[in-house]
Amino acid sequence: MKDLSLHILDIAQNSISAGASLIEITIEENPVKDLYTLVIKDDGKGMDKETIMKVADPFYTTRNTRKVGLGIPLLKLNAERTGGTFSIESRVGKGTSLSATFIRSHIDRLPEGDLPGTIVMLATSNPTLQFIYNHSTPNGNYTFNSREIQEVLGEIPINDLSVYPFLKEMIVSNLSDIKV
């Protein structure tokens, strides 16, 4: 994947396939500790211990259309390439939490990519699910909660195409305030 936002999109799809109703995407930038941490947590059906051990294997997949599942292995590779870490925790019936930590200053750390677009795309294409995106840096903290947005929009459905550019703009302007 060329950038982090694509990994987020990819992992969130896993959560959606797992039947999640709430997906939390949290990014924490810590220049002091030189860390960039991404956590994606869902309340989907979860995985048992055996499966957790298999997910980082590129030849393990839940799909029956092909024999390769690269999403998680690629993210793990990208995190570890920077000297970072990767972990997954999951409980059957409760949900899954995936955490990827990158060494912030490492030259191989993927660019963020289009985070606003990705978050809004996820929220608007899955209007029945709730997405909470939280981004924190030493300069502050921003939270995007799709439920709140839906409340503000009222009778305008969140998946109405005219809403899309406004929501993107909202995230972009809030992120520019806290970016390091």
Partner: protein
Amino acid sequence: MATIKSLDDLRKIKSDVQAKMTLRERSNHPDQVVQIRVAMATCGIASGAKIVMDYLMTELDKRNIAAIVSQTGCMGYCYAEPTIEVTIPGKDPLVFGYVDTKKADQIIEKYIKNGELVEGIIPVNYESIDEK
């Protein structure tokens, strides 16, 4: 227009959005608007499906076409990613492969607006994913 930052700012543009909605005379029934599903599994995302989806969402809105764009998982056409499934009300779904923004533009202008078939259709005895 001032930048939208807070939820209050969002509230303020509601009336603009609502005006646009009535302009399109959009019905709230999914089967009366064009439905597009973009395959968004790892293969799709890695090949640029996100860019295509962003393009579709932005352009359909700009060209005032009533549509619902959503994501699906792998449709099985990994060799032809990015792929999108387009369902025009009353017609069978069609899957297009090798979609980039240029192809997406063609699909909007030729297929969605005029019903003209565009190159790159993946021919199958096709059933929509829901029926599989």
